[in-house]
């Protein structure tokens, strides 16, 4: 019985081996004929086809299916080299221009001197919107510049931990103050759009250089061409900064790494130029021109200032005051 079992086992084993040999030989022939590299995906080819190499994975995070995106190297070059040059030239260049201008031209005086009479230029709401946007802008600008230049300019002066604490608070400020800033830009757009449509008067104003050189005073309505330019820079630049900024605050909401890189490039370039332009705006609103700051400070300006810088606007206001005869000249108030 045992001998029979052993015989059976040997027979089975032999049968099994034969089966393997039969099944194996075509399989072996097949592996020899197939070149495993022939169709294999190649990194070089994939990178030539597209900037990112994407596949499939088995973890739920679909973002991780991107294998490689060498574009990060280009973005790095932009951030390390290009942006610093753009920012440095725009901001330091503007500062230099303003210093030279101030030294050569000095403060633009009210030529006729103060009249002692003032006229309302901006309502409390207009001033509130201006200063809300302005305060947010200054903090956004400084915290943003810290991200680009802080490491080379501030970090050497501080302990790394203190710089991190500062930068982290700056980041929170940057993120949260973006909301009142954006609201301010939207309000500015609606508040002053009526006075900021370019007209033929602006062409004449620009042709005379805005009266910047010499003692020229080209006529202007409520906003002259320079102010209109600032208005549109704030509306369009602020809008672009807001849109690109929110793309970065909310990562992967309809964006990929590549679009976020582009958003960061738009955001930073717009911001650098915006800062440079705002430096000029701050200059002309403070030490650059006598009687200008009051417009946004107390909301009223001297009659002679209005006569010199916004002659057509003053006429408009006068006509309006005369037509509204029920109230005796409500906008012109006796000054100090």
């Amino acid at each position: 019985m045992q001998a029979l079992a052993a015989l059976l086992r040997v027979a089975l084993a032999a049968l099994f081996l034969v089966a393997i040999a039969v099944a194996g030989s075509p399989a072996a022939a097949q592996t020899q004929s197939v070149n495993p590299t022939k169709n294999a995906v190649s990194e070089q080819q994939l990178l030539q086809q597209s900037k990112t190499v994407r596949g499939l994975g088995s973890i739920p995070d679909a973002k991780s299916y991107t294998l490689e995106q060498p574009a990060g190297r280009d973005w790095r070059r932009f951030h390390e080299v290009t942006l610093r040059w753009i920012g440095g030239i725009a901001i330091l260049g503007m500062l230099a221009v303003l210093v030279i201008f101030y030294l050569s031209r000095g403060m633009v005086r009210i030529e006729a001197g103060r009249s002692g009479y003032t006229i309302v230029r901006f309502s409390w709401f207009e001033r509130f919107v201006h200063w809300m946007t302005a305060v947010c802008f200054v903090i956004l600008a400084l915290s943003g510049l810290n991200i680009t230049f802080g490491r080379s300019l501030l970090l050497p002066l501080m302990k790394p931990e203190s710089f991190t604490t500062f930068s982290e608070w700056a980041k929170y400020a940057h993120n949260y103050l973006s909301f009142p800033f954006t609201l301010g830009v939207v309000l500015i757009f609606f508040l002053w759009i009526a006075g900021n449509i370019p007209t033929r008067v602006d062409v004449a104003w620009l042709k005379r250089g805005g009266g910047m050189i010499g003692h020229d005073h080209p006529p202007a309505y409520r906003f002259n061409a320079g102010q209109k330019l600032i208005y549109w820079i704030v509306v369009l630049g602020g809008g672009a900064a807001a849109v690109s900024g929110y793309a970065l605050i909310f990562p992967f909401y309809g964006t990929t790494i590549e679009t976020m890189q582009q958003a960061e490039m738009v955001h930073s370039i717009v911001a650098m130029l915006f800062i440079a332009v705002m430096l000029a705006h701050i200059y002309i609103g403070t030490i650059g021109m006598e009687g200008a700051f009051e417009a946004m400070g107390s909301g009223t300006v001297d009659l002679n200032w209005a006569k010199e810088h916004h002659s057509l606007w003053l006429e408009e206001e006068r006509v309006r005051a005369q037509m509204d005869s029920s109230k005796p000249q409500p906008t012109i108030v006796t000054g100090q």
Binding site: S42, L67, R76, N146, R151, Q261
Partner: protein, 198 residues
């Protein structure tokens, strides 16, 4: 000093994800973050390949270059590490990274970014080697114990190689010579500016 590198032999990877799991377990990686992942290219097509990818610890690392607070440092072994105490979670390293390595726990405002987390080549962080503080922030420091990254040590087909760049390059070249094919060292050109000559 050795220059530590990763090399994934895609012709051997069977997409078992053991490296992913090993990494998550070894370092108790936060929820939602995978320091390593396996990506399958041309899935279901002839010539399909799977590649296990994590931080490649680049030469002249872009993350380190763009970090606004200088949170990164490269060790003498060429491992790119970062300090979670210095990181402000701005997201710049993950714009710059060619391999999608930096990830953020969603603890920040607007559900965005907390302190960045990424592969450490099992080498911990700036805290003292093997300290509880180091383990909590970065996971195990196997390199300090003389061990190589667990993902590669665990790899059943020895597809994923980790260690001295010259040594693993030699191993890979031998394999390619012996079997007669190889789809190349994925990511090496981007990470190390050179690829294995085979």
């Amino acid at each position: 000093m050795a220059r530590m590198k990763f090399l994934c032999d895609a012709d051997r990877c069977i997409e078992c994800n053991a490296c992913v799991t090993a990494c998550k377990n070894e370092h108790e990686v936060p929820w939602g973050i995978n320091r390593r992942r396996v990506v399958t290219l041309d899935d279901g097509q002839p010539g399909e390949r799977s590649v296990s990818m994590a931080c490649m610890h680049c030469t002249d690392a872009p993350c380190q270059a763009v970090c606004p607070v200088n949170a990164f440092y490269t060790t003498a072994d060429g491992v790119v590490l970062h300090s979670k105490d210095i990181c402000i979670g701005c997201g710049y390293c993950f714009y710059a990274c060619p391999f999608g390595a930096p990830q953020y726990p969603r603890v920040g405002n607007f559900g965005s970014r907390g302190k960045m987390d990424k592969c450490t080549f099992c080498a911990g962080g700036p805290e003292p080697d093997g300290s509880p503080a180091e383990y909590e922030k970065y996971g195990a420091n196997r390199l300090a114990e003389g061990k190589l990254p667990l993902c590669a040590e665990m790899c059943a087909t020895k597809s994923l190689l980790a260690g001295d760049g010259e040594v693993i390059e030699e191993i890979y070249k031998e394999r390619v010579a012996k079997r007669g094919y190889g789809s190349g060292a994925w990511g090496w050109k981007t990470a190390y500016r050179g690829t294995v000559s085979s």
